[in-house]
Amino acid sequence: MNILELQGITMDYGTVKALDDVRMTVKQGEWLAIMGPSGSGKTTLLNIIGCMDKPSGGAVILDGVDLSTLSSKGLTAIRREKIGLVFQQFHLIPYLTALENVMVAQYYHSMPDEEEALAALARVGLKDRARHLPSQLSGGEQQRVCIARALINYPALILADEPTGNLDEANQNLVLEIFQTLHREGHTIVTVTHDPEVAARAERCIVLGHGRIAGEQRMCKPAPEGRPADNKEEQCQCG
């Protein structure tokens, strides 16, 4: 079953075509990586899928809802109800603790629940750091708080924009392992990355070039079985 379907998406900024007739689907429980060089339209595409931007043309069907028919308020509701966002810069609120940062997502969704937020932090290995401010956390820890925040409202789709872009190798592996666990548990994940190592952990990889889909690669070993592809030759060739 497709949870996401893009039908001929275009995005124009004046005379510049950021996206040109992008068509793709994402199945429920799939982990898709979107790759491409700088300016290829990756982030624009992620913003459209994440209801933070409206395409100039085409339709986005997310969990059976045609996003192009929705108002700004409707898109906000979809963002709140169905999407979990993970950012490259983490974007934590600096004056709130890790726990409160997670609870903020609950606050805008429904009701803050401290126990549930603590459980989400425990899931990313940060229960002990729940009462710390973002400035007291390392980059990897901040990103894990960001993931816990993305998960807290049980989103239908997790969107991650360069989730390891600001992390060292150790933290990158830690974050990717969390994503793999989430994937194994059945979460649908779309990751934008320029890092082949990250893309290699995904189930499928799409390459964007000049706003078009320039290529697609299915990984030899799908992630639901819990393993990254071992054989380098069989890994994603996108990068």
Binding site: Q88, I93, L96, P112
Partner: protein
């Protein structure tokens, strides 16, 4: 942690995080509230204080005989004065005038109630002393005293035309007013009534009432045509001056308050606009997490309300202190705390701070998450 406590924490911590900016905004609100509370408290109290001050300039209402009559019954005067607003009459001094002879020189004599004169005309400056009640003493106008070379403690001999008998009165004091009173000799009213054979009659009654021109005119219209042989008349110079001064003071209070509130509004709005600009990423993040514009508006309004509330509390207190100091310095009287004015000043401070947040809040709701959260 409930939704409300998280909201409260977000509002409070957002304020605390930008202490210096918020202290400036808080001071702006506090100063606005101080001026508002102080000036309004003063303005509320000033008519009362000014009224007392004006009353020291003498009577503002005259009760005169009807038509061509030279005198009117003292009883009718009392009756008319009794119908004036309760508690606002400072005093009523009846006068009976006639010419007498002193050393064969014609001098105007006035019979009056010295105790009432003290209340109605507190500007009288007496050299010597006021006559003791029932002593039969006289107060001599400064001009008359100079003409007749009279000094307190001496005796003056008065001849009433038509009565051959001379009256000898002790001079208790000499009165200086700079006005027509200096050409008179003042004796006790019953004494002159008896000498002139006009018992129970007076020529005029001067009344000092703590009321404005409008109130007195309304009273005059009410009493007109009720009979009694009395015609009330306003001392226009005093009543109009009082109204004029109070009117100008009112305009000044309104103007200063308006300007200060406007400056407060601009200061808070500027601060909040800077805060919104600084917090664009945070706003974008909240919107990306699904916050509706309503939630963002509520958060910034909450910050504005906290600023307004704290500034309002501080300013209302300072305003009362300011008004108290001014009142003590200018009028030498304390003022009483007016809870309604304090409440209004507090409410105005909160309202101004809330209003000042409108433009910044509009800016905040216009933040596009995709733009501000773009990767670097």
């Amino acid at each position: 942690m409930t939704k409300y406590s998280l909201y409260g924490k977000m509002v409070l911590y957002a304020l605390l995080r930008r202490r210096s900016r918020m202290v400036v905004a808080l001071l702006a609100v506090a100063i606005g509230a101080t001026v508002l509370s102080g000036l309004v408290t003063l303005y509320y109290d000033v008519p009362r204080q000014m009224g007392r001050e004006f009353r020291s300039y003498g009577a503002n209402l005259l009760l005169l005989p009807d038509g061509d009559n030279q005198v009117m019954p003292e009883q009718a005067v009392q009756l008319a004065a009794g119908s004036l607003p309760q508690g606002k009459v400072i005093g009523m001094a009846p006068y009976l005038y006639d010419r007498v002879l002193i050393n064969s020189q014609p001098i105007m004599a006035a019979g009056t109630d010295f105790a009432a004169v003290k209340k109605v005309s507190p500007y009288w400056q007496i050299t010597g002393q006021w006559p003791a009640p029932g002593s039969g003493g006289a107060v001599v106008g400064a001009e008359v005293a100079e003409l007749l070379r009279l000094k307190p403690g001496q005796t003056v001999t008065i001849t009433v035309p038509g009565a051959e008998q001379e009256k000898k009165l002790p001079v208790a004091g000499i009165v200086h007013t700079g006005g027509s009173e200096e050409d008179f000799i003042f004796v006790e009213l019953p004494l002159l009534q008896q000498w002139l054979g006009k018992p129970g009659l007076v020529s005029v009654a001067q009344v000092s009432v703590q009321a404005g021109e409008g109130e007195l005119t309304a009273w005059m219209q009410q009493t007109a045509g009720t009979g009694g042989g009395i015609t009330p008349r306003l001392v226009k110079q005093l009543t109009q001056s009082e109204g004029l001064v109070l009117g100008k003071l009112q305009a000044l209070v309104y103007l200063v308050t308006l300007i200060v509130l406007l400056l407060t509004l601009i200061c808070v709005a500027t601060t909040m606009m800077a805060v919104v600009t600084e917090r664009r990423k945070e706003i974008g993040l909240k919107k990306a997490l699904g916050a509706e514009n309503r939630s963002i508006v509520l958060e910034f309004l909450g910050e504005g309300m906290v600023l307004g509330g704290l500034g309002g509390l501080l300013g209302t207190g300072c305003g009362f202190y300011f008004a108290q100091v001014v009142s003590l310095q200018v009028f030498a009287r304390p003022i009483s705390f007016q809870p309604l004015i304090a409440l209004a000043a507090f409410g105005a401070a909160v309202a101004v701070a809330g209003l000042a947040c409108l433009i910044p809040v509009r800016m905040a709701t216009g933040v596009e998450p995709a733009t501000v959260l773009r990767g670097e």
